[in-house]
Amino acid sequence: MNSDISAHFEKDFQGGPTIAVDFTQSTQGFSVTALIGPSGCGKTTLLRSLAGLTHPDRGEITFRDQIWFDCEQRINLSPQQRDIGFLFQDYALFPHLSVRENLGYGLRKHSAAERQRRVSEILTLFDLQRLERRFPAELSGGQQQRVALGRVLARRPQLLLLDEPLSAGPQWRRPVCWEDVRSALLRCDPSSFVMPWHRACMAGSP
C-alpha cells in the first residue's frame, strides 16, 4: 500500500512562466505539510492541481493508490471524485446561505439525521452555535474563516488543502486563528493536510 501523495507535473501559463512541480510527501497517520515560498513560485498551482481545479499540461498526480491525474493515460479525476477539502484564501462562503446551510452544503448525500449531527458537531467545535442563522456578510473575518474550515471538515475529506489560510485578516488575529485551526484539525483527525504559507505569515505564526 502506497501512502504517498506524489505530484510531478508542469503547467504552462499563457504569457507567463511554466511551473514545474516535483513533490512527494508521505501521508501516513496524521501529517501536516507546509509549502513555503515567494508568491509566484507555484504554491497555489500545486494546491489547485491536487484539487483538480487546474489541469497540468504534462505529468501525473497520485494519491495513495489512486491515480488522480495522468496526462498520458488521459486520466483526470474531477474535484468531486477526489474526496478533498479545499479552503479558499478568501473563504468563498456562499453569500445566500446561512452559516448552518453553508456547513451542511457538502452533506447532501448523507441522511438528514447524519447531516444534522455533523453540522451540530462543527457548530460546537468552532463555537458557532449562536451564529448559525447569520449570513456570511454578517460575520467577522475570523468567524468567516471558522465557518469555511468547518464547512470543509464536515465532509471529513481524506486530504485537506488550505490555500494561504492565515494570510487574510489583520496581523494580530493570525496566532488566534491559527490556534482555532490547529485545535480543530487535531480533533477532527483527517489523515493529511497540505497548506502553503506566505513567508510573511510564518513570522506571525506560533
Partner: protein, 220 residues
C-alpha cells in the same frame, strides 16, 4: 381599445420571454464561462440586433422563412404551416430581435459572480449541474430577472420586425405598437392616443421595476 391587439401582444411577449429564458440561460452561461476564442463572433451575433435596422432583420427573415427559404421550406414540408404573416413567424422574429436584451444581462450576471464559489461547491462534492441550481442561479437571479423583464417590455414594443414578417393582420399579427401605426394612418388620433398612453405607462412601470431590481442587487 383593441383588446384583441392587447391579448396578442401579451401572448407574443410572454412566449418570447419564456423561450429566451429557457434557451438563453444555458447559452449565456456557456458564453460567460467559455475560454473558446470564437466566442467573440457569437457575442457579436447576439448583439447585432441592437444596431441592425429592424427592416434588415425582417427582410432576411422573410427570405429565410418564406416558402422558398430554407427554414420556411422545412416548416411547410413538416408542419404544412407557412411562417410569414403568422403568429409563429412574428414569434421567431421577436425572439431573434430580443436576443441581446435577454442574453447580455444574463452574461453580465454570470460574469460578475465570484468563480471561486462554483469551485468551492465542486470541492464540496456537488456536480456541475447541482452547483448551477444551488449556487449560480440563486446568486445571479437579480440579473436574470432584469433580463427577462427587459425582454418582455421590449417585445411588447417591437414594431419593425413584426410589421415586416407579420404584416398587419388583425388578431394574428397586429400587435399594440402596430395598431397605433394603423390608427394614425386612418386619422383616428384619439384611439392612437389611448393605445400610446397604455404603452407609455406600461414601459414606465417596467423600467421602474428593473431599476428596483438593480438597486436590490447592489444592496445584497
Amino acid at each position: 381599445m383593441e383588446w384583441g391587439a392587447i391579448w396578442l401582444t401579451i401572448r407574443l411577449a410572454t412566449a418570447t420571454t419564456l423561450i429566451l429564458g429557457i434557451a438563453g440561460i444555458p447559452l449565456a452561461y456557456w458564453l460567460a464561462m467559455t475560454r473558446w476564442r470564437g466566442r467573440f463572433f457569437l457575442e457579436t451575433l447576439v448583439a447585432l440586433p441592437l444596431v441592425l435596422p429592424p427592416t434588415v432583420l425582417g427582410y432576411y427573415l422573410l427570405v429565410l422563412l418564406g416558402p422558398r427559404g430554407f427554414v420556411g421550406g422545412i416548416s411547410e414540408a413538416i408542419f404544412g404551416a407557412r411562417l410569414p404573416f403568422s403568429f409563429a413567424g412574428i414569434l421567431i422574429g421577436s425572439i431573434l430581435f430580443n436576443l441581446p436584451f435577454a442574453i447580455r444581462p444574463f452574461v453580465a450576471a454570470f460574469r460578475a459572480m465570484d468563480r471561486r464559489l462554483v469551485e468551492a461547491s465542486w470541492c464540496l462534492g456537488e456536480t456541475q449541474i447541482a452547483t448551477f441550481f444551488r449556487v449560480t442561479l440563486p446568486i445571479c437571479w437579480p440579473g436574470i430577472l432584469a433580463g427577462l423583464v427587459l425582454t418582455f417590455a421590449h417585445s411588447v414594443g417591437e414594431f419593425g420586425v413584426v410589421l415586416m414578417i407579420g404584416g398587419n393582420r388583425p388578431l394574428v399579427t397586429r400587435t399594440l405598437s402596430i395598431s397605433i401605426y394603423d390608427q394614425v394612418q386612418e386619422m383616428r388620433m384619439e384611439a392612437a392616443g389611448q393605445t400610446a398612453l397604455v404603452l407609455l405607462i406600461f414601459s414606465f412601470l417596467v423600467l421602474s421595476l428593473t431599476q428596483w431590481i438593480g438597486r436590490r442587487e447592489v444592496g445584497v
